[in-house]
Symmetry: C2
Subunit: 197 residues, 2 copies
């Protein structure tokens, strides 16, 4: 198996392939199937090649995590820019991202991240730190109880789809999404927080 040895060298391509394959394997075959060998083979290199790009397996996992967070950050940022209403802007962007992931292919990536989060305590802190910082930054516009509920429900939808439980999302997912977005808007009149439509 000396194909990759004699071919044109493409370090960044290989590196991306390693991250991608690690995520794909974790999502499809479980976290236990993510081994140095399997990831390297899937990416078309050998163990030595993998260890050239990542010092250890943990560094590889961290890399997957970092890439996933960067993608989410970018996605949230883009959606927030296109939203003229400041109130609940972050929550709307977050909810949209969660629902968008469900249909996107890179949901696989986040499934892998989630599995890793469960297994590794250090990764939990990385994620927790990112989210807490984000939340603190938008505390003034997204600090209402309805915002928390909308975000949490979006998390719930996303987790449910991870477990393969589409039914939990209720009869109509689009209606659910619309309802959550609606919850992020400022109450129309009076301080009555109970909803009406």
């Amino acid at each position: 198996m000396s194909e990759a040895h004699t071919r044109r060298k493409q370090p960044d391509v290989v590196r991306r392939a390693l991250l991608q394959e690690a995520a794909r394997i974790a999502a499809n075959e479980g976290l236990a199937a993510v081994t140095i060998d399997s990831v390297a083979k899937a990416a078309g290199v050998t163990k030595g090649g993998l260890f050239h790009h990542f010092q250890s397996k943990q560094a590889l996992i961290d890399g997957v995590m970092a890439e996933a967070i960067a993608l989410l950050e970018e996605d949230v940022e883009r959606r927030m820019e296109g939203d003229p209403e400041p109130y609940g802007r972050f929550t709307r962007a977050y909810v949209d991202c969660m629902f968008a992931d469900l249909e996107r292919e890179d949901a696989r990536l986040w499934a892998a991240i989630c599995a890793s989060l469960m297994a590794d305590a250090s990764l939990r802190k990385t994620w927790s730190d990112w989210f807490t910082a984000r939340l603190a930054r938008h505390a003034e516009t997204d600090g209402a109880l309805e915002h928390a509920i909308a975000r949490l429900a979006a998390d719930g939808v996303w987790h449910a789809s991870l477990y393969g439980m589409e039914a939990e999302c209720g009869p109509d997912r689009n209606a659910l999404r619309g309802r959550l977005i609606e919850m992020t808007r400022r109450p129309a009149m009076s301080e009555n927080t109970s909803e009406d439509r």
Copy 2:
């Protein structure tokens, strides 16, 4: 280490200890730390003792899963019996269970379940089947969109606490819980829920 060897034999006690320690280790040190040796040692027996009670590691995990589902089932059932209002009864019981788990010690058990769910596809189906059946049974009383949101948000809270993100639950968890329970009640007037099936 021949403590368990010379002590009075208590098979059911040992069996329960094995399940409990497996769950505790998964929750505290990650799923990867759940090994035959570590679980057996934590339970005060050796591998031979463990394999006497469980044919394989998978059987042990399945046992943890079965016990957890049985406990949840019982908990939900008890809460539903004490609820006079049929509308949204299941959702209220479910939400209460999720929040109760956070303060309870056996939340550890469910953290382990969740980690296993991520890693094992066959366990995902077990859980999905249970929940889908439950949901179908109470479709008439708990089929509204608000019910789905309340359940999903409760799931989100629970997952967030798993990740060590208490902040995501908003400023006041009790207020959040009260708000979700409130969502399960029938709307005060104009029964237009825009949703029925």
